[in-house]
C-alpha cells in the first residue's frame, strides 16, 4: 500500500479494497518498524490516527470521497511539527516547546484533517524552528536520509522528506522559508512544492521569517503533491497575508500536454558551484522536456548572487522578532530557580534554544539595531525588489525557470555542522523564490552514486498549476520518482 499513489489509495478506499483503518495501521506499523533508523517523527499520533481513520471509514461508507469533493478522505498524512495541532505536542523541533501542547489547529491542519478527513499519523522532525538545511539542528536528534543513513535528508523539513521517502507516510506537509521544502525533497528523491507566498494560510504555522514562510507539500510525485496542495490552499481570513483569490483546479490540469512550453535556464544557476553529476542529470531532464515539446532558452537572473546575503539579513531579522515571544513566561521552557526577571529571560532562552537559533537571533537583533537598520535591513529589502524584478522580466519571455535545487546530492551527517556559511550556501538556488514570493517545485531527475538529484522549476505568481503539470508530464515518461530506497521497500 505504501507504493500506491494518493489517487490509487483514494480509489482503493472507495472501492473497499481496504479500509482507512487498515491503511492507517499499515503506515503506523511501518513507522514502528523503520523510524528508529530515521528519527523522522517527533510524535506519532497512533491512537488519534485510528480514531480519525474510523471516522473516515464512516464517511466513505456514505459514499463520500473522490478527487472532486474529498480527495484526501481517509488518506494518512504526516505533519511537519511546525503546524499547531490541537491536543498534540507542537515542538517546532525545539526543546523550547517540548512541553507545548497546542490548544488550537493551524488552518492547514484544520483543512486537511478536520475538514477533508485526512488521517494524521504524527508530527515530523525538523531543524529547530525551521532554521537549518540538514535537520541536524533539531532538539530531537538528527534525521537520517533513507537512501544512505550516514547522510542528511536536507532541511529544514527533513523529517517530512525522510518519512515519505521511506514509505512511512504517503505525503507530508512541510514549510519553505529559503528552500526547506525543495532541498529535502531533492535530497530524498521526492517532489516538493512551495506555492506562491499567500497561497496557503500561515495561521497556526510557527513563524520563522514571516515574509518568506510558506507551507507546502513533500510527496512521491507531482500528482500526489497536487492532491494534497489542492486541499491545503486557499484564502484564510485569519492570515492577513493570505491572498483572496480562487484556487485553480491543479488536479484537473495535470494531464495537459506541455507542447510549446517555454523554459528559461538562468545562466547563474549553471555556473561554478554546481557539481558535475547533478549537472548531467539536469541536462538530461531538459532534453527529456524538449522531447515533450518544450523550448529552451538561456536567461539571466543577474541579482541571483545577492540572494543568500539578502536572505541572511531578512530572515534572521524577522526570526529575532518572531522568537521574542519564547520568554518562559506563558508557555514553553522556563528556567528553574530564577531570582530576577532578567535571569528568567536569559536562562529560559539560553537553555531552550539551540546554537543555530541563538546565532540567528543575534544576527537578526544586530541588523535591526539602531544605526544598522538602514545599512542592513532596509538595503536588503531593496535588493529583494531587484531579485523580484529579475523574475518579473524573466516571466515576460518564459513560462518556467528551470535549474538545480541543490548544488549536490545529500552530504554526510556532521559534514557542515561546524561551518554555518557552508551550510547556508546549501540554499543558494532556492532562496530567490522565497525572496520574490513565487512558487517553486523540486522533482527528482536522476541519481548520482545511488543518491537522488533534484531539479527545480520556478513559476510566475499563482502558476502552481503549471509547475505541477510540467512535473507530472515529466514523471509520466520517467521513473526516478517511483524508486524506493533499498532498505525500505
Amino acid at each position: 500500500m505504501h507504493t500506491l499513489s494518493i489517487r490509487q489509495l483514494s480509489e482503493g478506499l472507495r472501492a473497499r479494497k481496504f479500509s482507512a483503518r487498515e491503511l492507517t495501521q499499515h503506515f503506523l506499523k511501518r513507522i514502528e518498524q523503520h523510524d528508529k533508523k530515521l528519527n523522522s517523527f517527533i510524535t506519532v499520533t497512533a491512537e488519534r490516527a485510528l480514531t480519525q481513520a474510523d471516522a473516515a471509514d464512516a464517511r466513505l461508507a456514505k459514499g463520500e470521497g473522490g478527487p472532486l469533493t474529498a480527495p484526501l478522505l481517509g488518506i494518512p498524512l504526516a505533519q511537519k511539527d511546525i503546524f499547531c495541532t490541537r491536543g498534540v505536542k507542537t515542538s517546532c523541533g525545539s526543546k523550547m516547546l517540548d512541553t507545548f501542547v497546542a490548544p488550537y489547529d493551524a488552518t492547514v491542519v484544520r483543512r486537511l484533517h478536520r475538514d477533508a478527513g485526512a488521517v494524521l499519523l504524527g508530527k515530523c522532525n525538523m531543524d529547530e524552528f525551521a532554521m537549518g538545511s540538514s535537520s541536524e539542528t533539531s532538539g530531537y536528534g538528527p534525521v537520517k536520509n533513507p537512501w544512505d543513513l550516514t547522510r542528511v535528508p536536507g532541511g529544514s523539513s527533513g523529517g517530512s522528506a525522510a518519512c515519505v521517502a521511506a514509505g512511512l507516510a504517503p505525503a507530508a506537509t512541510a514549510t519553505d522559508t529559503g528552500g526547506s521544502v525543495r532541498q529535502p525533497a531533492a535530497l530524498t528523491g521526492l517532489t516538493g512544492i512551495k506555492p506562491t507566498y499567500g497561497r496557503v494560510s500561515r495561521y497556526g504555522m510557527v513563524a520563522f521569517a514571516s515574509s518568506l514562510d510558506q507551507a507546502g507539500v513533500i510527496a512521491r510525485s507531482a500528482e500526489d503533491a497536487a492532491w494534497v496542495l489542492q486541499v491545503m490552499a486557499g484564502f484564510d481570513p485569519l492570515d492577513s497575508t493570505s491572498v483572496d483569490r480562487p484556487v485553480d483546479n491543479w488536479i484537473g490540469s495535470l494531464d495537459r500536454p506541455i507542447e510549446g512550453l517555454k523554459i528559461g535556464l538562468p545562466k547563474e544557476y549553471f555556473a561554478e558551484g554546481l557539481a558535475a553529476g547533478p549537472r548531467r542529470c539536469i541536462e538530461a531532464a531538459v532534453a527529456e522536456l524538449k522531447k515533450l515539446g518544450a523550448t529552451v532558452r538561456e536567461i539571466s537572473l543577474p541579482h541571483s548572487p545577492l540572494s543568500v546575503p539578502t536572505y541572511y539579513v531578512v530572515a534572521p531579522a524577522e526570526a529575532s522578532s518572531n522568537l521574542a515571544r519564547y520568554d518562559g513566561v506563558r508557555y514553553g521552557h522556563r528556567a528553574a530557580d530564577v531570582q530576577t526577571l532578567e535571569e528568567l529571560y536569559k536562562r529560559s532562552r539560553g537553555e531552550g534554544f539551540g546554537a543555530e537559533v541563538q546565532r540567528r537571533i543575534m544576527m537578526g537583533t544586530y541588523v535591526l539595531s539602531h544605526g544598522y537598520y538602514d545599512a542592513y535591513y532596509l538595503k536588503a529589502q531593496k535588493v529583494r525588489k531587484l531579485i523580484y524584478e529579475d523574475f518579473r522580466r524573466a516571466f515576460e519571455t518564459v513560462d518556467v525557470v528551470l535549474g538545480p535545487t541543490a548544488t549536490d546530492v545529500a552530504f554526510k551527517l556532521g559534514a557542515k555542522t561546524d561551518d554555518p556559511v557552508a551550510m547556508y550556501l546549501n540554499d543558494i538556488y532556492t532562496i530567490a523564490a522565497n525572496l520574490a514570493g513565487i512558487p517553486a517545485l523540486s522533482l527528482p531527475c536522476g541519481f548520482v552514486e545511488g543518491l537522488p538529484v533534484g531539479l527545480q522549476l520556478m513559476g510566475n505568481f499563482f502558476d502552481e498549476g503549471r509547475l505541477l503539470n510540467v512535473a507530472h508530464q515529466y514523471q509520466r515518461v520517467t521513473d526516478w520518482h517511483a524508486r524506493l530506497p533499498g532498505a525500505f521497500t
Binding site: Y203, T241, Y377
Partner: protein
C-alpha cells in the same frame, strides 16, 4: 502657579486613548474592562506560536474619525511596525504599533485659556495595541500577569511642543478628552486607564530659541495630576539649572502622594526598540472614498454645537459651553427642548443647574440619570402651561429624582396643581389680612418691605400652590384698597 519670570517652559503631551471597540485590535477577544484576569485573552492575545494578527476595521475607522476631527492628514497608506522590548505583560516580546507611517498626521486643536484662543499642533496619532498588566500585590513576592488589556486598541496622540505652562497643558488635555468622548471613540475613563497622558517638559531662559533638554513624565492619570506633575517638573528643572546643574534626558514617574516626580530610566538606559514593518500585516490603504464615508459619520463637534446653541436657542456663551461640554449632556438638553416646547433658556437652567447639581450630589452621570430627558420635558411642559409654578416644580423634580414617577403623576398624587382661581386666592388673602391687622396697618403706613411677608403667608396658606403672579397682583390690589 505660573512659570517664573525669566524662564519659559516647553511642553508636549503624548496621550494614549483606548478605542471603544467591542473586540481587540488584532483579534476577536473582548475588550470589556474589569473581567476576571486572563478571561479575555485568546490565542492571539497570548501570543501563542503560530498566531497572526488581523486588523480590526472598527479601530481603523475610529482612528480616521479622530484624524478628521482634528483637521489632520489621513495617510492613504500606513504601516504597522513592531516595537521590541521584553516585559512579562507584553506577550509577543513586541508591541504592534506604527512608526514611520502613522495613520494620522499634522492636525490641530484650538484651546481657550482665559480669553485667549490658542492653536495647538498635533504632530501625529498612530494606532497600536495596549500591553497587559503586571500585578505586584497579593502574589507573595511574585508578579501576576493579566492579559485582558493586552491587544486593546489605542491611538497615541502626540502634540507639538506648543504648550507653555501647566494650565495650557490641562486645557489641551481636557479639550482632547472632550473630543474623543464626543466622537464616541473612547469612554474617557481616566481611572480605568482609557485615557492616559505622558508629559514631555523642558525649560529654557526667556528669549532662548533652542529647546532645553526634556524629561518625559509617565502615566499621569488625572487632569489635576497632570497639572501638578508639570508644575513640579518645571520648578525642579529651573532649580537644577539655576544652581548650575544640567537636565538629564530621562523618563520620570509621577508620585501622586507626594506630588513629585522621580527618575525612572535615563536615555543611556533607553531601549533600542528595533522597529521594523510588521510582515504579518499588509500596509493599510485608506481610500478617499473611505475617508468621505467616515467623514459623513462624524457627529457635530463641540465648538460647532456651542455656536449653534447660542444662535438657535439664544443661550449665553457660558450656558452653551456648559451644555456642550459633554455630548450626552448636549443631547439630553436638546431632547428636553424638543419634547417640552418650553423656553430654551428655562430648559438650560433646569438642565445645567438642577439636573447637573442633583447628578453631582448622587454621584451619577448622564447615562445613569434617574430623570430622563423625556421626564424632565414632561415637567417643563407643566411649568409652561402654568399647571405648576417654578417653585412647585422644584418639589416635583425632587420627587422625580426619588423615583416617585412622572411629573403629572406626582402633581396629581401630591395635589400640587397651581391655584389660578382668583376667588380662592382672594379668600386666602382675606384670611391672612384678617389674622395680621397690625401688619396691614404698618404696610399701609408705608412699610413696603412687609409685602414679602404677605406673599409668604398667602403661599403658605395655599401650600405654595397659588399662582405667584396672581398672588402678587391681587395682594397689591387688596393692600392698597
Amino acid at each position: 502657579m505660573s512659570v517664573p519670570a525669566g524662564w519659559e517652559a516647553v511642553i508636549g503631551l503624548e496621550v494614549h486613548c483606548q478605542l471603544l471597540t467591542q473586540s481587540k485590535i488584532f483579534s476577536g477577544a473582548a475588550t470589556a474592562y474589569g473581567a476576571a484576569p486572563n478571561t479575555q485573552a485568546d490565542a492571539v492575545t497570548l501570543g501563542l506560536p503560530g498566531v497572526l494578527p488581523v486588523l480590526n476595521a472598527a479601530a481603523l475607522e475610529m482612528a480616521v474619525k479622530f484624524g478628521l476631527a482634528i483637521d489632520a492628514q489621513i495617510a492613504e497608506r500606513c504601516v504597522f511596525a513592531r516595537k521590541h522590548y521584553f516585559y512579562p505583560d507584553l506577550p509577543k516580546g513586541y508591541q504592534i504599533s506604527q512608526y514611520e507611517q502613522p495613520i494620522v498626521s499634522k492636525g490641530h486643536l484650538d484651546i481657550e485659556v482665559g480669553e485667549k484662543v490658542q492653536r495647538i499642533g498635533i504632530t501625529r496619532a498612530h494606532m497600536e495595541e495596549d500591553a497587559g498588566k503586571s500585578l505586584h500585590e497579593n502574589f507573595s513576592g511574585q508578579t501576576g500577569i493579566d492579559l485582558n488589556r493586552a491587544g486593546t486598541p489605542l491611538i497615541e496622540i502626540v502634540s507639538e511642543p506648543d504648550l507653555r505652562n501647566a494650565q495650557e497643558a490641562v486645557a489641551y488635555l481636557k479639550k482632547l478628552h472632550q473630543l474623543v468622548v464626543y466622537l464616541a471613540i473612547c469612554d474617557g475613563n481616566m481611572q480605568e486607564g482609557s485615557f492616559r497622558c505622558d508629559a514631555n517638559v523642558s525649560v529654557r531662559r526667556a528669549g532662548e530659541s533652542k529647546f532645553g533638554t526634556r524629561t518625559e513624565t509617565k502615566n499621569v492619570n488625572s487632569f489635576r495630576y497632570v497639572e501638578k506633575a508639570i508644575e513640579y517638573e518645571i520648578q525642579r528643572q529651573i532649580g537644577v539649572l539655576e544652581s548650575g546643574g544640567k537636565i538629564v534626558q530621562e523618563t520620570r514617574l509621577f508620585n501622586p502622594d507626594t506630588g513629585e516626580t522621580r527618575a525612572m530610566r535615563s536615555k543611556e538606559e533607553a531601549m533600542d526598540y528595533r522597529y521594523f514593518p510588521d510582515p504579518d500585516l499588509l500596509p493599510v490603504v485608506v481610500t478617499k472614498a473611505d475617508v468621505e464615508r467616515i467623514r459623513a459619520t462624524l457627529p457635530e463637534l463641540p465648538e460647532a454645537r456651542k455656536a449653534r446653541f447660542e444662535s438657535q436657542y439664544g443661550l449665553p456663551a457660558y450656558d452653551a459651553g456648559v451644555l456642550t461640554g459633554e455630548r450626552a449632556l448636549a443631547d439630553y438638553y436638546e431632547s428636553v427642548v424638543k419634547a417640552s416646547g418650553a423656553d430654551p433658556k428655562l430648559c438650560a437652567n433646569w438642565v445645567s443647574t438642577d439636573l447637573l447639581g442633583a447628578l453631582n450630589k448622587l454621584g451619577r452621570d448622564m447615562a445613569t440619570s434617574p430623570v430622563s430627558a423625556e421626564a424632565l420635558a414632561g415637567m417643563l411642559r407643566r411649568i409652561a402651561d402654568k399647571t405648576i409654578s417654578g417653585k412647585i416644580a422644584k418639589e416635583v423634580f425632587e420627587a422625580m429624582l426619588a423615583g416617585e414617577g412622572g411629573a403629572d403623576e406626582i402633581i396629581k398624587a401630591k395635589g400640587l396643581v397651581q391655584i389660578t382661581d382668583e376667588g380662592a386666592i382672594l379668600r386666602a388673602i382675606d384670611e391672612v389680612m384678617a389674622r395680621s391687622p397690625d401688619n396691614v396697618a404698618a404696610y399701609r403706613a408705608g412699610k413696603d418691605k412687609l409685602f414679602g411677608f404677605f406673599v409668604g403667608q398667602v403661599m403658605k396658606a395655599t401650600q405654595g400652590k397659588a399662582n405667584p403672579e396672581a398672588v402678587n397682583r391681587l395682594l397689591k390690589q387688596k393692600l392698597t384698597a
